[in-house]
């Protein structure tokens, strides 16, 4: 087939271009990722104590992970295009992490000396990042599939963004089961779990995101 014939083939009956292609793929994955992570963590670990509903920690976890998920999802959508501007989305993402780091630092500073270690490590510091990582894996597979079906030209970065997106979704579900009440704990161990998922995404990106 000559190229001029191919152009006729492609253009005839082409219709309008699809819109919001990235959002159409990423939004269902976000919903499924949160639900799956929430259901798995609550059913295996039990729900967080009801007293947390009146405290600040549960809402801080949901707010932090939710904002990160939105920012990382936005960044992922940008990186799923062949060319895009990513500065604004990246700044929102980094800004969110910085705000949480500041809150965690203030919280640690306002804790009296002997309780600081407990405030930082809680009871579950050794498992929290790994649980967040494992809970984010289904969403990571979904997000990589979604990006692969579009046209990423920076695969490592796109994989990293998809990993942070999935990590935030995993953390969002895990918050429903996690009993930790310290802001410092969230700022350190939640961030680490999400970053681990980002690292897995960055590692897989160049292999998986070919088209």
């Amino acid at each position: 087939m000559k190229t001029s014939e191919l152009i006729d083939v492609l253009s005839s009956g082409a219709g309008p271009a699809p819109r919001a292609v990235a959002a159409q793929r990423l939004v269902p994955i976000a919903v499924l990722g949160i639900v799956l992570s929430g259901v798995v963590s609550v059913s295996t670990l039990g729900p967080a104590p009801a007293s947390m509903l009146t405290g600040v920690a549960l809402w801080a976890k949901l707010g932090y992970a939710g904002t990160l998920a939105a920012a990382a999802g936005w960044l992922t959508a940008c990186l799923a295009r062949p060319v895009s501007r990513i500065a604004t989305a990246s700044r929102v993402l980094v800004g969110t992490a910085c705000v949480m780091a500041l809150l965690g630092s203030f919280s640690l500073a306002s804790t009296s000396g002997p309780q600081r270690v407990e405030h930082l490590l809680g009871d579950s510091w050794a498992v929290c990042p790994w649980r967040v990582l494992v809970l984010s894996l289904p969403a990571l597979a979904g997000a990589l599939w979604a990006v692969r079906g579009l046209a990423p030209t920076r695969p490592r970065l796109a994989g990293f963004a998809a990993g942070l997106f999935a990590g935030s979704l995993g953390a969002l579900g895990y918050a429903l089961a996690c009993p930790e009440v310290s802001l410092t704990f969230i700022a350190v161990w939640y961030s680490l779990g999400i970053a681990l998922s980002g690292a897995v995404g960055a590692f897989l990106g160049p292999q998986v995101l070919r088209w």
Partner: protein, 185 residues
């Protein structure tokens, strides 16, 4: 990127492209013709030792552009988007061939207009032949709408397949074609 601004190439293409994205098929055809010439020049400069690959890569790029039309960001130049996809296809070719020529930069001072014509080159691979490898439903959908040039509604009447199903078959067929093209090369 110097490939994205060549005088009035971008403004003209953009005017066509905006209409094409909204569903104007004549504008889309005209835009693809200009893009094909642009991309051909881009590949010819970079594949001076592999001239046979040029037209196949042009066709691959056009199919990818078509399948990924939704990923163009209206805030950015059309030509930057086109060249990003062409560049991705070129890198993909180098990777498949496992050659080091990817490092060769085009000769300085040789511009498209002086060195290269925009004439179509011969292809090595025949896409029509590849149609046989699609499922019967995909082949029928593509043959009716794309090759016979029927509207989707007419094709739906002729084949008894619903409009929505036909559109899905055409899209899947083109995607499959893309995979076959890669597997072949």
């Amino acid at each position: 990127m110097k490939d994205s601004d060549h005088g009035d190439f971008e403004p003209r293409l953009r005017a066509l492209w905006v209409r094409a994205q909204a569903g104007d098929e004549d504008a889309y055809r005209e835009a693809l013709i200009r893009i094909a010439a642009r991309v051909r020049a881009y590949f010819r400069r970079r594949l001076q030792y592999l001239p046979d690959e040029v037209e196949d890569l042009v066709q691959e790029t056009l199919i990818a552009l078509h399948l990924q039309r939704g990923t163009w960001d209206p805030a950015l130049p059309v030509s930057a988007w086109v060249i990003a996809i062409a560049r991705h296809k070129l890198i993909d070719l180098w990777r498949r061939r496992g050659r080091r020529e990817a490092l060769h930069e085009p000769l300085e001072g040789l511009e498209d207009s002086t060195l290269l014509s925009v004439e179509e080159l011969p292809v090595r691979r025949d896409l029509l032949g590849l149609l046989d490898a699609l499922t019967p439903a995909q082949r029928q959908a593509i043959a009716l709408t794309k090759i016979e040039g029927l509207s989707v509604a007419e094709a739906s009447q002729r084949s008894g397949v619903s409009v929505a199903a036909l559109k899905v078959q055409v899209h899947r067929g083109l995607k499959r074609l893309m995979v076959l093209v890669k597997a072949e090369s």
